[in-house]
């Protein structure tokens, strides 16, 4: 509960609530699993619920862990090494807040599934939920970075760099780990057969075709 309070409150106003690493990790994994399970449990597809429940924490972990070496080296190279632990804590809190926000939206997702059955709607709805949770994550990260930026304005550059790198990797990781919802006409699988391709090339190609009409 202390971890939850620390996640949701502005760090400037709740110095007393500092989450332990274990509690924060457990809360993040549990919350991400909850949303993943709700997200996959469409039309009673329980296996998909289990798969998606596993994949949402995996997505957050993969994207964060892949970018951490760059965050560390860039912090050190810009002379911000002394603040790295605080920056790392901020990143962990932002990941936790994304997971908790998603979990809090899980009932809304489930009720929406019951009212509209179209697959396209489910895709759009979950995209919206993830966008909302990401926005919360950014707000939380910015709150943790505020005192760091006040101390050294170079942290602002690090914050923007981190967001750019993290989202660049997270979008590709999400593309690889799909399906999270699962189309009714396709069999339930942990990963798509053609999941080893590139999100950016795929989106760019579709945009190119749409704009030029050329294949």
């Amino acid at each position: 509960m202390n971890a939850l309070t620390a996640l949701l409150r502005d760090p400037a106003e709740s110095q007393a609530h500092r989450a332990s690493h274990r509690a924060l990790l457990a809360l993040t994994v549990a919350a991400a699993f909850t949303y993943g399970a709700f997200m996959g449990a469409r039309d009673g597809r329980w296996l998909q619920a289990l798969y998606s429940g596993t994949k949402v924490p995996l997505l957050l972990a993969v994207a964060t862990l892949l970018c951490l070496p760059s965050l560390f080296v860039a912090n050190a190279a810009l002379g911000l090494r002394a603040d790295f632990r605080r920056a790392l804590y901020g990143v962990a809190m932002s990941q936790g807040s994304v997971a908790v926000t998603l979990a809090s939206l899980a009932p809304v997702t489930q009720v929406s599934y019951l009212s509209v059955r179209a697959y396209g709607f489910a895709l759009l709805l979950n995209g919206l939920m993830f966008a909302l949770a990401s926005l919360v994550g950014q707000v939380v990260l910015a709150r943790h970075y505020r005192p760091l930026i006040a101390r050294n304005p170079r942290h602002r550059f690090m914050l923007r760099g981190w967001l750019l790198l993290y989202w660049g990797v997270a979008i590709q990781a999400a593309w690889m780990l799909r399906p999270f919802i699962g189309a009714a006409r396709l069999p339930t699988r942990f990963l798509r057969a053609a999941s080893w391709d590139n999100a950016y090339v795929e989106i760019g190609s579709r945009l190119w075709v749409w704009l030029t009409g050329e294949w």
Binding site: V62, L65, L66, C67, P69, S70, F72, V73, A74, A76, A77, L78, G79, R81, L165, V169, Q172, A173, W175, M176, S195, W196, D197, N198, Y200, V201, G204, S205, L207, W208, E214
Partner: protein, 258 residues
């Protein structure tokens, strides 16, 4: 290896006493070259992974070639541009001796390669999840650019320590009154105008050199290519020298979504 890691860690922490005293035993040119070789090899390995996963037996050759070529790219560029930098900075009255200049630039290349090595897991991740050759090349160009900018920030910081801005010889006095104030009138005191410290001319030489280093580096990369390895072409240690880096990048952007 531990000594190299400690040396890189010292540099990353901004611990650069060698800029003030040539007698500092840390960050010797040889140690920095070894660190560059190790860090460059890490990113080279990640770059070559694309060739290794998309070719047969030739893929392993691409892996070996990329691992060797990334550190070579940086060190060869430094070798080509260092003599002219030293001559021009000495002409501009730089207080840095040859060894100190070399250590500073090797330290900057080490930082550049350390940042690049930290991008290795991301490059490897994209390698395993994409088949697009143009995408992988452009991703590496982007990472090389970002790492270069961070290396540049390091050089700028070090130059601020090693070549501090020169204070003017004496503060310029305020405008001299052209007439003698009449008796009884209170003269208006004029505060001496403060001239901002003049940047050391040697720093301008370094700034120009950084641009030259970037352009030479880009062209050196073009000469030493392939680093990623186009799976549609046979493996070669070096490709033919037609075209140039910038034309190559524009061609790849055009091919990316087709």
């Amino acid at each position: 290896m531990r000594v190299l890691a400690l040396e890189v860690d010292r540099l990353l922490r901004g611990d650069t006493p060698f800029l003030r005293t040539a007698a500092d035993r840390h960050a010797s040119p040889m140690t920095l070259v070894q660190a560059c070789l190790a860090l460059g090899a890490v990113y080279g390995l990640a770059m070559g992974l694309y060739g290794a996963t998309n070719r047969g037996a030739e893929g392993l050759l691409q892996l070996v070639a990329s691992t060797a070529k990334v550190p070579l790219l940086f060190l060869a560029t430094l070798l080509v541009t260092f003599p002219s930098l030293y001559v021009f900075s000495a002409l501009a009255r730089s207080t840095l001796a040859v060894t100190a200049t070399l250590r500073l630039l090797l330290a900057a290349v080490t930082i550049n390669l350390a940042v690049l090595a930290s991008f290795a897991p991301i490059t490897a991740f994209f390698t395993l999840s994409t088949t697009s050759h143009p995408f992988m090349v452009l991703l590496s160009v982007l990472f090389l650019g970002v790492a270069g900018l961070i290396g540049l920030a390091f050089v700028t910081k070090c130059l601020g320590i090693a070549l501090p801005a020169r204070a003017p010889a004496e503060p310029a006095a305020g405008p001299t009154p052209t007439h003698t104030p009449s008796e009884g009138a209170t003269p208006i005191p004029t505060a001496p105008t403060r001239t901002p410290p003049a940047p050391d001319p040697a720093r301008r030489v370094f700034a120009a050199w950084i641009v030259i280093y970037g352009v030479v580096g880009a062209q050196m990369g073009w000469i030493l290519r392939p680093f990623v390895g186009n799976p549609e072409l046979p493996f070669e240690w070096f490709r033919s020298r037609d075209s140039n880096f910038f034309a190559g990048v524009f061609t790849l952007i055009g091919r990316l979504f087709q």
